[in-house]
Symmetry: C2
Subunit: 142 residues, 2 copies
Amino acid sequence: MGNYSKADTGKLNDLDQYKFAPEELPAPMVGKLFLGDLVNLTSMDVSLNKDAPNTGMSFFHSHKNNEELHIFLRGTGEMVIDEDRFTVTEGSIVKVDPNAKRAWWNTGNEDLYYAVIQAPANGLKAAGLNDAELGEAKVPWI
Amino acid sequence: MGNYSKADTGKLNDLDQYKFAPEELPAPMVGKLFLGDLVNLTSMDVSLNKDAPNTGMSFFHSHKNNEELHIFLRGTGEMVIDEDRFTVTEGSIVKVDPNAKRAWWNTGNEDLYYAVIQAPANGLKAAGLNDAELGEAKVPWI
């Protein structure tokens, strides 16, 4: 497995087989799977999430250092960030600064699917082509 | 819009409305949307991707500093990382270290959907509850 790690988390539909329920958490979260330990992430942590209707993040939290990006994949919900409350659905992308207080909820009739990624705010120096080196070898498919 | 930024990228099915085609790129990439500029990311960059059958990343690249995480959402493909070649499908999670040479391809009959996240390797100091502060206020949905 040289310079990579991989894991198979199963179908998104089956994410509710996972539960995030550390003691310190005000309420256990069914359908939340963190990927960091699975593939030895050193730059970020990521959770994949499936929330049943009328469930979600039932308490507010903020972060000390990490920026958080929410990518909504399916379903309909709401987020509250500080004083603002808005709807999210497939294709909604929300970046939350560390100190903002946030919570969210599945307000629709179907399951809500989303990924949440956290990494240190202001830590990115370059991205995309500016951080890349292009190789000479041909890919095997063409 | 205080301490957050949001954008609406549309349905995943419609990701092929977007194209990533800077001059330096060996080939234009249809269906690749970077989120960094859309929501002012400072910690990471992220692309959402839809590849038609028999398309994909048609050249190898590595990174200088960024670790990259691939989250496969729908469809079936292959990745090559250095000397290894393997299948990916819904729920496959692949973390690639910066200097590994990587490419991937939609080898199935349906569109391949995936997210790619990059952030500086070894940049994460704490995550999840270790970076969080829990709030006292009640969420509005319960």
